[in-house]
Symmetry: C2
Subunit: 299 residues, 2 copies
C-alpha cells in the first residue's frame, strides 16, 4: 500500500478516460454541431475524472473488467460536466472561470450552455442504454444501474442538493442542513459511481454495499477538504480564487464548524471509508490511496 | 371513422394521463421539495398531452395494453415539459406566458426553473428504467426504448432543433433548414412517442415503422398548422398572442412559403401520415382523427 503510486495511477487513468470520452462523445457534423462543440468544450476542460476513475476501480475491485464498464464511467463524467455547466450559469453561481478556463456560457452564450448541459445529461443515458444492447451486460443489470444514476443525479440527489444550496444563500443554516445538502449535491453521484461500477463488475451485494458506503464517506471527505482548500489553498495550484466561497457567503464546513473540527471530520470520514473497504484485498489499494490523498490534497 | 368522437377521446385520455402523472411524479417532502413543486407546476399547467396520447394509441394499435405503457407515456410528457421550461428561459425564447399561465422562471426564478427542467429530464429516464424491473417488460426492449428517446430528445433531435432555431434568428434561412430544424425540434419526440408505444405494445417491425412514419408526418403537419395558427389564430382560444412568431422574426412556414403553400404542405403531410396507417384497421381511427383534426384546429 505504501508503495502504491497514486499520482501515476491517476494520470494514466485520466489519459485513458479522456481518450475513451473522445470516442464515446465525438464531435458532430450537422447544423446542430455547435451544441456538441459546446458540450465537448466543458467535457475536455481539464476535469480530474474522479467519478469515472472511481467507477472503473470499483468494477476491478468487484472482479470485473474496467474496459467493459467504460461507457458508464464516461456517462458519469458527462453528468458531472452537465451539472458544472448549469451550476456556473449567471442564474446560479454566476462563475466566469472554472479550472482556469472560461465557463461554458462565457464562451458559447447562456442559451447554448443550457442546451449543452441538457445534451450531456441526455446522451449519458444513451451510453448506458447501449451497454445492455451491445456491451455484453445483462439488460436487467443496466436498468438497475440507470435507476441508481437517476436517483443520484435527480431531485433526490445532485439536483436536490443544488436547489438546497441556492436556497441556503443568505440564510442561517445549521451543519445538519449543510451535510444533507452535500450528501446530495456531491456525495450522491460519487457514491453512485462506486455502486454502479461494483454492480457491473459483478460484485456480490455485500461488495456493492461496501463500495457504496466507501463512496458515501469519500464524497463527504471530498467536500470538506474542498471547502478547506477554498479557504486556504493557493490560487495558482487550484485554478480559481481562494476565498471565493467566503466572498459568496457560501455555507461551508469551516464556516460552520471551524477549521479544526472540519479537518477532524474529514479524517473521520476517510477512516470510515477505509473501514468499508476492509472486506477487500489489495485490489482496493487505489481506492484506499484516493481516500488518504484527500487529507493532504493541495488542489 | 366519421363517427369517431375525437374530442371526447382526447378529453378522457388527457384526464387519465393527468391522474397517472400525479401518481408517477408526486410532490416531494424533503428540503429539496421546491424543485419538484416547480417541475409539477409546469407539468400540470394545462398541456394537451399529445405525446402520451400518441404513445398509448400506438401501443393499442400494435396490440398492446395502454395501461402497461403509461410510464413511458408519462416520461415523454415530462421530457416535453422540461424542453418547454428551458425554451421559455430569458436566455432562450424569453417568454413570460405559456398556455395563459406564467412561465416557470417567472414564478420560481431562473435557477429553480433550470433545475426543474433538469429534474424532469432525469426522472423521465428513471420511469422508463423501472418499467423493465417492475413493469413486466423485457429489459432489452426497455433499453431499445431508452435509446430511441435519447436520440429523439438529445442533440440529434429536440436539443439540436432548438439550437438551430436559436442560431437562425435574424439570419436568412431557407425552407430546407427550417424543415431540418422542425423535424428535430418537434417532430423527433412526436415520432418517437409513436415508435416506442408500438415497440412496447408488441408491434411487428413493419407496424413499428408504419407508426413512426405516421409520427414523422404528423409532427411536420403539427408544426406547420402551429405556425399558421400563430399568424391567424384568435388570442383567447390560443392562450397566447397571435403574431408573436412574426414579432420575434421567427422563421415559420408561412413566412417562407406563404399561407397557401403552407396549408397545402400541411394537407400533404396529413395525407402521408394517413397512408402510413394503411396497414392498420379501425384501431388506428384515433390516430387518423388526430391527423385530420390538425387541418381544422383552432388552438
Amino acid at each position: 500500500m505504501a508503495d502504491f503510486e497514486l499520482k501515476a495511477y491517476l494520470g494514466e487513468r485520466k489519459q485513458w478516460i479522456d481518450a475513451q470520452l473522445e470516442k464515446l462523445f465525438p464531435a458532430a457534423s450537422g447544423l446542430e454541431k455547435s451544441v456538441v462543440e459546446a458540450a465537448r468544450y466543458s467535457l475536455f476542460a481539464g476535469g480530474k475524472r474522479l467519478r469515472p476513475i472511481l467507477c472503473l476501480a470499483a468494477a476491478e475491485v468487484a472482479g470485473g473488467s474496467p474496459e467493459a464498464v467504460m461507457p458508464v464511467a464516461a456517462a458519469l463524467e458527462m453528468i458531472h460536466t452537465y451539472s458544472l455547466i448549469h451550476d456556473d450559469l449567471p442564474a446560479m453561481d454566476n462563475d466566469d472561470y472554472r479550472r482556469g478556463k472560461l465557463t461554458n456560457h462565457k464562451v458559447f452564450g447562456e442559451a447554448v450552455a443550457i442546451l449543452a448541459g441538457d445534451a450531456l445529461l441526455t446522451e449519458a443515458f444513451g451510453l448506458m442504454a447501449e451497454m445492455g444492447s451491445n456491451g455484453g451486460f445483462e439488460p436487467r443489470k443496466i436498468l438497475r444501474v440507470i435507476g441508481i444514476v437517476v436517483k443520484a443525479a435527480g431531485y433526490r440527489g445532485m439536483i436536490g442538493g443544488q436547489v438546497i444550496d441556492l436556497e441556503s444563500e443568505g440564510r442561517n443554516v445549521d451543519i445538519t442542513t449543510v451535510e444533507y445538502m452535500h450528501i446530495r449535491k456531491t456525495g450522491a453521484l460519487i457514491s453512485a459511481s462506486l455502486e454502479v461500477g461494483a454492480i457491473l463488475g459483478g460484485g456480490s451485494e455485500e461488495q456493492i454495499a461496501g463500495l457504496k458506503r466507501y463512496g458515501h464517506h469519500l464524497g463527504l471527505a471530498f467536500q470538506i477538504t474542498d471547502d478547506l482548500l477554498d479557504l486556504e489553498g493557493e490560487a495558482e495550484v487550484m485554478g480559481k480564487t481562494p476565498g471565493s466561497d467566503l466572498a459568496k457567503n457560501k455555507k461551508t464546513y469551516p464556516a460552520l464548524l471551524g477549521v479544526g473540527r472540519s479537518r477532524e471530520s474529514a479524517r473521520e470520514h476517510v477512516a470510515e471509508g477505509l473501514r468499508a473497504l476492509g472486506i477487500f484485498g489489495e485490489t482496493a489499494d487505489p481506492l484506499r490511496a484516493i481516500a488518504e490523498y484527500l487529507l493532504v490534497r493541495k488542489a
